[in-house]
Amino acid sequence: MNTLLDWINENRGQLVVPVFGFFALYLLLPRDYRFWRPVGIAFGVVALGVLGFLFGSPGVTLNGILFYAFAGVAIAAAAATVTFPNPIYSALSFAIVVLSVSGLFVLRNAMFLAATTVIIYAGAIVVTFLFIIMLSRHPGNAPYDRNAREPFLAALAAFLLLSVLLFTLVDWKQNRISQSLAPVTKTFGANKLFEANPRARVGFIPVPPSIDPYPHSHMLADEPSPLRGLGRTFFTDYLFAVELAGTLLLVAGVGAVAIAPRRVRLRIKPPVK
């Protein structure tokens, strides 16, 4: 018991996030009593604040501010997607999530991906979803939208997952994870990223010391334009995969047409003379 209390004390910062987040989402999930929503929002704000404080980028740089902005909006909008009873609001919040994540992509030097994400997700997928939603509108909200399923157990599961990931990442950062699991160092030319670890394991399988990354992997530094570098990677390293992806898209399109219900053909009756 004492060790448990000690442990809680030790990790209280990290524990606040999942616990408060759990309460926030649990209270925010659609339910009949709407007055819990402000309480949930309060919890959520606290959780988000602690999260940002603990794990945000230090220093007041443009990078940092933009990161905080995009990340905060993404998480808030994600919470909104999950908790709005109205499905249209839900879809629109999802669009905001996508936009924020694209912003984060831009910060990580993945311009093409940012654009692609916006086009595909926010442009195609969300719009299509909105069409379907509008086909089945209920006055007010549908009963199946007004109440969530198993809010407690689901929130518990999700935040258990989140806390595991959180703790693992922190342990990883603080090098508390067993050294045999530390990643293998690679030195590619002038980019020395990690130290070599002769005791590296993947699980219990030892990593062969002569492992190399993909030999033709293009480095970010080599290409000034991220788009050009990505294109080069696509059509040299991953050509086969790209072609397959195209085929997959074709198949999916054909499949969607096959599955989707036929439109009812109108019979035009000939005029009776």
Binding site: F55, A78, F94, I120, A124, V126, F159
Partner: protein, 153 residues
Amino acid sequence: MSSDLLSYLIVGSVLFSLGALGFLTRRNMIVAFLSAEMMLLGVTLNLVAFSYEHANYEGQAFTAFVLTVAACEAALALALISALYRMRRTLDLGAWHDLGEPEPDERSEPAEQEQPMPVAHFPRLTPAGNVPPTAPLQKPLEKKVPQETPSHV
């Protein structure tokens, strides 16, 4: 590992968890699917963060493929949802639980306990040679022989 990476990974984890929560919780098919897409979004954020960390394009390439697959999946999912909507006229996932375990039929009641025959229905042997009635045992016997002094003995 840099704290930058950690931040992005954490955001990715949060998105993933929230997506999982939404998928488990919402009864609207569309919103559930949207939450699943959000899980994918969290994963792509992870990939991009690692790509930046390792300073190569592998993560971004993989992300492109994830996007492709997500698009196919969305197309097919929407087709399926339309078909399902046509069938039941509702977007409720709760309408589709045909594969659940049905409740079993009520167990049959235990067999009727046999009641022992009440003692009164067993015939008392008459003192004189009258033939007792051979009716079934449910009928009580009439006492045929009077115990008082017979007419002539």
